[in-house]
């Protein structure tokens, strides 16, 4: 187990953010996804990342785990700069977009979660097996997947699999949990259970959560702040401030209407009658204005 001597949750110093982006810019050739992004995340904070397809939501997470280099600016995770040789970090838990594993992977749920606990370590891992096993049981209990412990991963449903991968991501007790559309393949009930699980975990453990989603309603009332990426620019702030007609109209450079009804937010492109209404459960991504170049 890698229980480093890092400050645990509440008493961790506010002067050291879990994640700090300074002037971060990402461009593919001429196409700027976002630029000048400044972001400081405190322990236990939940930030929802919104934006259309190709707005650079997943790329943002990839830069934080060091899989993609920034065009300009810097990223610090838990006080350490990301980039160069520093690829990946034990302070980060990552729940990727892709839910399913290669079906040829013959292993049990317990084995997969165990990889999250000690998979980065050298050696065959025959020693300390008992302690590792206890930790795996703890994690499975934490995500409510104890009954699945001995099931082959190839037989899990989408919701079960996502639970297990969250356990795998939480195994290292990360300070920062990155979730890349973890709800994409889940039905409404499953989505709510996963969001509740992550919310409870970050409140009890002080883990900061950066949550990429195209369905703001799934995390409405949970997200402390919203980062909205569009048109090569961004807006960052409390949900009620960012998810407002004036803000989004300014961000997209085209008229956008934001409606609030029955505790849900609906974002509509006002100018273009042919544009899709932002219906998060219609199963496709919204992009009220034209894709920014």
């Amino acid at each position: 187990m890698s229980r480093d001597a890092r400050p645990s949750s509440a008493e961790s110093a506010p002067e050291r953010p879990v994640l700090e982006l300074r002037g971060a810019t990402l461009a593919h050739g001429d196409r700027v996804l976002w630029h000048g992004l400044d972001l400081r995340m405190q322990p236990g904070e939940f930030i929802a990342v919104l934006g259309g397809n190709g707005s650079g939501k997943s790329s943002l997470l990839k830069t934080i785990i060091g899989q993609q280099a920034l065009t300009a600016g810097s990223v610090m995770v838990a006080g350490k700069p990301v980039g160069g040789a520093a690829r990946g970090s034990r302070a980060v838990g990552y729940v990727p977009q892709r839910i399913s594993l290669d079906p040829a992977a013959a292993l049990r749920v317990r084995d997969l979660v165990r990889l999250g606990v000690d998979g980065h370590r050298l050696g065959p891992g025959i020693f300390m097996a008992r302690r590792t096993r206890r930790r795996v049981d703890e994690l499975l209990d934490e995500v409510g997947a104890t009954a699945l412990a001995d099931a082959p991963v190839s037989q899990l449903s989408g919701g079960e699999m996502q639970r297990v991968r969250i356990a795998e991501a939480l195994a290292a007790e990360p300070e920062l949990l990155l979730c890349d559309e973890p709800l994409a393949a889940l039905d409404l009930g499953q989505s709510q259970r996963i969001v509740t699980l992550i919310d409870e975990y970050r409140r009890s453990h002080g883990t900061a959560v950066l949550f990429v989603t195209h369905d703001i309603n799934a995390v409405l009332g949970i997200a402390d702040r919203v980062l909205y990426l569009a048109s090569g620019r961004f807006r960052l702030g409390p949900p009620e401030e960012v998810l407002a007609s004036t803000t989004l109209t300014d961000l997209y450079g085209a008229p956008i209407d934001v409606f609030r009804t029955q505790g849900r937010v609906i974002i509509v492109a006002a100018a273009d009658p042919g544009a899709d209404r932002h219906d998060p459960h219609a199963g496709h991504d919204h992009e009220p204005a034209t894709e920014a170049g």
């Binding site: 980065h120 065959p124 795998e168």
Partner: protein
């Protein structure tokens, strides 16, 4: 041809004493092959194994022609293959096409070298289908040495390699050097193939590196039991095959492949029964586990690949 050609147990004790080197070599190969096979299956490298063994065969044939030790040739051939496959084929699809291109070329080169070779005919045939009497004391020492290297390397990278194989995205995010592990494993695989070629032959390396692990994965999905069973199956096929082949006059390969295949069939039957009952206390699911190993394109290619058998 009589049954005595196939199995003959007269003077058996004397034969075992005479060929105990081969039996030890078989057991060592079974141990290494069974372990490496687990990753071959999980990383979907069956086709790469076949390609590597053909290039290993070409190297061995060249060594035979030049009068150098065959083992040196096969090691050079399979390491070249491993490095090429590792460097060029990051994606499975690229890899398959590169292997598909290089494999017949390697086989063709091998055939060329063999036909230029004027020595004994048994040596030629042995490279393709294996030979049993060829393990002398230096040969065994060499085999054991390489096996120790391979086993040590596997032991050291076992967990990160498994992590990188099963869940590359999360592993990379956690700082596991996913990309660096691929060529390391290809070298381990190349060395294992090179060792196997001389004993069981280039054409039948898959029986050692794929079948035992595939059989094990039919009956268990435990991270501990898959390698353990795979090793048991591989050692059983190797040692059992050699023991049966001792008395007869046939080459060693049919014995090994038959035992190996029989174990696989039994494991499939057990696996099917187990699926019907359900793997866990949760009970059976309506849907059987995905038959990835039957439907995967690479598996199909391997299945229909060795037409020359």
């Amino acid at each position: 041809m009589s049954w005595r050609d196939v199995i003959d147990f007269s003077d058996y004790g004397a034969l075992v004493a005479l060929l105990h080197n081969s039996i030890i070599a078989g057991a060592v190969l079974g141990l290494v092959g069974g372990l490496v096979g687990v990753f071959v299956m999980m990383r979907d490298l069956s086709f790469a194994v076949h390609g590597t063994s053909e290039l290993s065969f070409a190297g061995a044939a060249l060594a035979l022609l030049l009068g150098v030790d065959v083992v040196i040739g096969s090691v050079i051939g399979s390491l070249a293959a491993a490095l090429i496959f590792g460097a060029l084929g990051i994606k499975a699809r690229d890899r398959s096409s590169i292997i598909g291109v290089l494999m017949p070329f390697g086989l063709g080169l091998g055939v060329l070298f063999l036909s230029l070779y004027k020595g004994r005919g048994a040596n030629k045939f042995g490279l393709l289908t294996g030979q049993i009497v060829s393990v002398d004391d230096p040969g065994l020492a060499w085999l054991t040495g390489v096996s120790v290297v391979v086993l040590l390397a596997l032991a050291i990278v076992w967990r990160p390699l498994l992590f990188a194989t099963v869940d590359p995205e999360i592993a990379a995010a956690r700082g596991v050097p996913v990309r660096a592990l691929a060529p390391i494993f290809m070298i381990v695989l190349g060395l294992t193939v090179a060792m196997s070629v001389k004993i069981i032959g280039a054409l039948l390396v898959l029986a050692l590196l794929v079948t035992p692990a595939a059989a094990a994965m039919r009956v268990t999905v435990s991270m501990l039991w898959v390698p353990v069973l795979s090793v048991i199956f591989a050692v059983t096929s190797m040692v059992g095959g050699i023991m049966l082949a001792l008395g007869g006059r046939l080459p060693i390969s049919p014995y090994i492949t038959t035992i190996s295949f029989a174990i696989y069939l039994v494991c499939r039957l057990i696996g099917r029964a187990r699926t019907r009952r359900g793997w866990t206390a949760r009970g059976a699911r309506v849907e059987p586990p995905r038959g990835a190993r039957e439907t995967h394109p690479a598996a199909l290619r391997v299945g229909s690949g060795p037409q020359h058998l």
